[in-house]
């Protein structure tokens, strides 16, 4: 790791009139400039040599944890290995140098790839059709609930269906997306098994119900075995069922949400289909629908007509949520991942992801309590609680930060909200038993430290480029950019 204190900002390195790349001279006759009142007087930008730039960003990169360097047991985020070949293939000039608005007959290769990816994702999810245009999971969610809204409005101009039900274990994006679609949100509690409280669902299954947003398995890492009943109850009340694909790594190739009764789901290609997270994007959140919502898909969708591929708009489409056709570069990577695994490999992914999570759960359940301990198996992730450690004054946060010292990324903390001191661990299929054993050893040592050396945990992390940060100061006195004056 670099010496953090010595890490300057670009502007600190700036030296007048330096630049990092040579450009071609302008070789056309110069035209007259517009009147000066329209022109900018000055701009403050860094001025560096090429080596300055390379060193600066290389040194910064080394202050990050990443999948390429560390195990990321980050629940709900599916931090699996991102195959290198996929980055290379997405960079092929025939893909990366193509303008989005040139005529469709000239981009048949890109359209063919998109068409096939649509059909793969429809097949895996058990749905009728897929639109790849939505650029992140949250945007896929928004598209999903917008389709539900458009469906009800088409059924009746005076539709009163303005309520979306969401379990209390859901990701924050679910209620935020429903809200952006103009719905009001009602939360449904979980029962003592971590499943949805069916009685509360029934009470709300009425003429105001537009739909329900479910994550399967739930964010507790549990597969709600009442799922078919839940879908039936919602449908009988006239509502539709939306599935958040965040936890698809548990069921891909094992079951299909379309068969279970879901009307629309979104898929996170940056989770299940191995495209890199990039430090927080780009993602891609395709939406898959059954026959009920087919006509409402966001545009554009790729269709094939006698071996010619073309973009089409569905008749009742909710419109476009971005200027072009979605995050194509991410789609190429997901396509490559599916082709490399093939139909034989896809079920192996979920199988290994679930085996790994159960291995960790069983190895650690004596040291850490489980969020919902009356279930003997989990799916692709396990939610521990630090309630036992709390008695020694150690929080979930302290344990997570201490893990950083051991060279592991922290688990997801304090989520789902319904588990006290939650620590959510998702190993993914990428990790081997060999890696898991070392991680388990670290967790056991930390459990030991909780009892015998809790001070060590309160101060953790100790070995990272910086220590715990003053977040209150950051929010109280926002310093959000360098000053140029």
């Amino acid at each position: 790791m670099s010496e953090y204190n010595k890490m300057p900002l670009l502007m600190d390195l700036s030296r007048k009139d330096k630049f990092g790349v040579s450009l071609s001279d302008i070789d056309v006759p110069l035209s007259e400039l517009p009147e000066s009142s329209l022109l900018r007087e000055d701009i403050q930008l860094p001025e560096l040599s090429q080596l300055d730039v390379v060193r600066y960003f290389t040194n910064l990169s080394q202050m990050n944890y990443s999948i390429d360097t560390q195990f990321y047991p980050l629940g709900s985020c599916t931090m699996k290995y991102n195959p290198k070949i996929n980055d290379q293939l997405a960079s092929l000039k025939g893909f990366s140098n193509i303008h989005p608005l040139i005529e469709e007959s000239l981009v048949q290769g890109s359209l063919e790839l998109m068409f096939n990816l649509q059909s793969y994702l429809s097949n895996i999810s058990g749905m009728t059709a897929t639109s790849l245009s939505t650029m992140a999971g949250a945007q896929g969610e928004l598209a999903g609930v917008l389709m539900i809204k458009a469906f009800h409005e088409k059924q009746s101009n005076s539709s009163k269906r303005n309520v979306i039900l969401i379990p209390d274990s859901a990701h924050g994006t679910n209620p935020a997306s429903a809200s952006m679609a103009g719905f009001s949100v009602k939360s449904i509690p979980s029962d003592q098994n971590g499943n949805m409280d069916i009685d509360v669902l029934k009470e709300n299954a009425n003429e105001n119900l537009a739909g329900i947003m479910l994550t399967l398995p739930s964010t507790l890492g549990l597969f709600d075995n009442q799922i078919v009943d839940i879908c039936n109850i919602v449908h009988e009340a006239g509502g539709l069922v939306y599935g958040d694909g965040a936890n698809m790594n548990a069921w891909m190739g094992q079951t299909k949400l379309g068969d279970l009764g879901f009307d629309v789901i979104h898929i996170n290609l940056h989770k299940t289909f191995s495209t890199p997270h990039g430090g927080g994007g780009p993602g891609s959140g395709p939406v898959c629908v059954n026959d009920t919502l087919l006509n409402y898909l966001p545009g554009p969708v790729v269709q094939r007509n006698s071996n010619v591929y073309e973009f089409v708009e569905m008749p009742d489409t909710i419109g476009h949520l971005g200027a072009f056709h979605g995050n194509f570069g991410v789609l190429v990577r997901a396509y490559c991942y599916i082709r490399a695994l093939g139909k034989e490999g896809i079920p192996e992914v979920s199988k290994n992801a679930v085996m790994n999570a159960n291995y960790i759960m069983n190895k650690l359940k004596h040291a850490y309590d489980i969020g919902f301990d009356n279930r003997s198996i989990c799916m692709h992730e396990v939610v521990f609680t630090a309630r036992k450690q709390k008695q020694n004054g150690v929080k979930g946060l302290d344990i997570a930060k201490r893990l950083l010292d051991y060279g592991y990324h922290a688990p997801t903390m304090y989520f789902p909200l319904i588990v006290d001191e939650a620590l959510m661990v998702e190993p993914t299929e990428s990790e081997s038993k060999n890696t898991l054993d070392k991680f388990i050893d670290a967790m056991l040592q930390i459990a030991d430290e909780c009892e015998n050396n809790s001070e060590l945990l309160h101060e953790a992390p100790h070995n990272t480029p910086v220590q715990r940060l003053d977040e209150a100061l950051a929010a109280r006195q926002p310093n959000l950019k360098w000053s140029t004056k």
């Binding site: 390429d68 931090m79 995050n327």
Partner: protein
């Protein structure tokens, strides 16, 4: 031995050891919560697994079904731009430590991503002449839609005014985002902006507009502010290197597409939406924000901040559902600007301007080709052609040239041309020569 897959971590022996430890015969026993009649592993649409070498062959063939790209002979822009991307950008952005890291919630092990984002925010505010910027949105269109939603929240007025000269594709995205919240969009002609006091949350202007022209920003800003509306600008950051920054005209929210600054054109994405505003509206801003603070030792460090605006804390009352910042694209943009530096970026902007103006003069000298723009422009302009743009573009393709965007649905026989530093006098002359002979 069963087929092994390189992206799966466990060896066969390790898989057996895990099953044995769990006391089960097969992984099937872990899926018992899925009702039996719904167990389904039929993936008939998906071909069988292929080797890495076969994958390379397959994707190469697919990419070759697209037109062989030659940006110097391509004259289409309209929101996505061909520029030269220096070697530093891809080589640094593809470092695994950036590429395969998660959102920097764990600040102690994410200082790389966090510091880059702080730099990015700084660059955006400087380019746009604004007080604060966030870490990024999906792309230019949805970023503009979020700006309109933010203006409605700030003003508590649910009606927006928008110049009809913004990109048609941005209009479409605005409608998709605003209609569900029953927000009315009123499109107005540039010379006919009519806003009553407190009637509209904002006036939306594109700078330069879709047809390439620089609007009368001073007058539009005054009109918006006199009617107590926010002045929202969707701005090309590169144009703002040469022309005045939107902030110079008193813009309240400035958004835009960052693709032109170092991000591959890649058939439309992934890109990055830029988002900046005046500091008084900071707490209504959507998206991720990085701030500078200190750690326990008192050393300066960076951290995600003002998170109580965001969905993972505020849930249905969040400023947006957005949960990503296109961080990798933000990194590329930061490396791009750092590599070009002040003089390089100014030269690129200047080159765009002069190439476009030379081309406009040459094309409009051809019989029957008329330059439509009457206001100043930057690097895009509209030509009314003597014959259908469809025919023209078809003839150009025959000689390996991608012409401008056919906008004959908006302007009779109109083509929107775009020029950047990637073009030379030779490539422009070749376009002009070919246009001379399309008749």
């Amino acid at each position: 031995m069963a087929k092994q897959f390189p992206y799966i971590g466990n060896s066969e022996i390790e898989q057996e050891a895990i099953l044995e430890y769990l006391g089960i015969k097969s992984a099937e026993d872990l899926f018992v919560d899925i009702p039996k009649e719904y167990r389904d592993s039929n993936l008939s649409e998906i071909p069988s697994s292929i080797s890495e070498m076969q994958l390379v062959e397959h994707l190469t063939l697919l990419s070759e079904k697209n037109i062989n790209p030659n940006p110097s002979k391509s004259f289409i822009g309209a929101g996505a731009y061909h520029h030269y991307i220096p070697s530093t950008v891809l080589s640094l952005a593809q470092r695994g430590e950036f590429l395969t890291s998660y959102t920097p919630y764990q600040a102690e092990v994410s200082q790389g991503t966090l510091q880059v984002t702080y730099e990015l925010q700084s660059l955006i505010t400087e380019l746009y002449g604004m007080d604060v910027a966030n870490a990024g949105m999906y792309e230019g269109g949805s970023s503009l839609a979020e700006a309109a939603l933010m203006a409605c929240r700030v003003k508590n007025i649910y009606k927006v005014a928008c110049l009809s000269t913004i990109a048609p594709r941005y209009k479409e995205v605005l409608r998709s985002y605003l209609a569900p919240q029953s927000i009315e969009i009123v499109f107005m002609d540039t010379n006919d902006v009519d806003m009553k006091k407190d009637e509209y949350a904002c006036l939306i202007v594109q700078y330069p507009n879709f047809y390439g022209s620089i609007e009368d920003m001073r007058a539009l800003s005054d009109t918006a502010h006199k009617s107590n509306s926010l002045f929202v600008v969707s701005a090309d950051p590169l144009a703002a290197v040469m022309y005045k920054a939107p902030g110079d005209y008193g813009a309240d929210i400035v958004v835009g597409e960052g693709q032109g600054l170092g991000i591959p054109i890649s058939f439309g994405g992934p890109y990055i939406g830029l988002f900046a505003c005046k500091s008084e509206y900071l707490r209504q801003m959507p998206g991720r924000i990085v701030g500078k603070t200190v750690d326990k030792r008192g050393d300066s460090a960076f951290v995600l901040t003002l998170q109580t605006r965001e969905q993972h804390i505020r849930r249905e009352r969040a400023t947006s559902n957005i949960c990503t910042s296109e961080a990798l694209m933000g990194l590329m943009m930061t490396i791009y600007v750092a590599t070009l530096g002040k003089s390089g970026l100014q030269q690129v902007a200047s080159s765009c301007f002069h190439n476009a103006h030379y081309a406009a003069e040459q094309i409009s000298q051809i019989d029957g080709f008329e330059l439509i723009n009457s206001q100043p422009f930057f690097n895009e302009f509209v030509i009314a052609c003597p014959i259908s743009p469809k025919i023209i573009n078809k003839k150009l393709i025959e000689v390996g040239i991608i012409g401008g965007l056919d906008i004959s649905d908006q302007i009779d026989n109109g083509i929107l041309f775009c020029f950047t530093e990637i073009h030379s006098k030779e490539s422009i002359d070749s376009l002009v020569d070919n246009l001379k002979h399309v008749n």
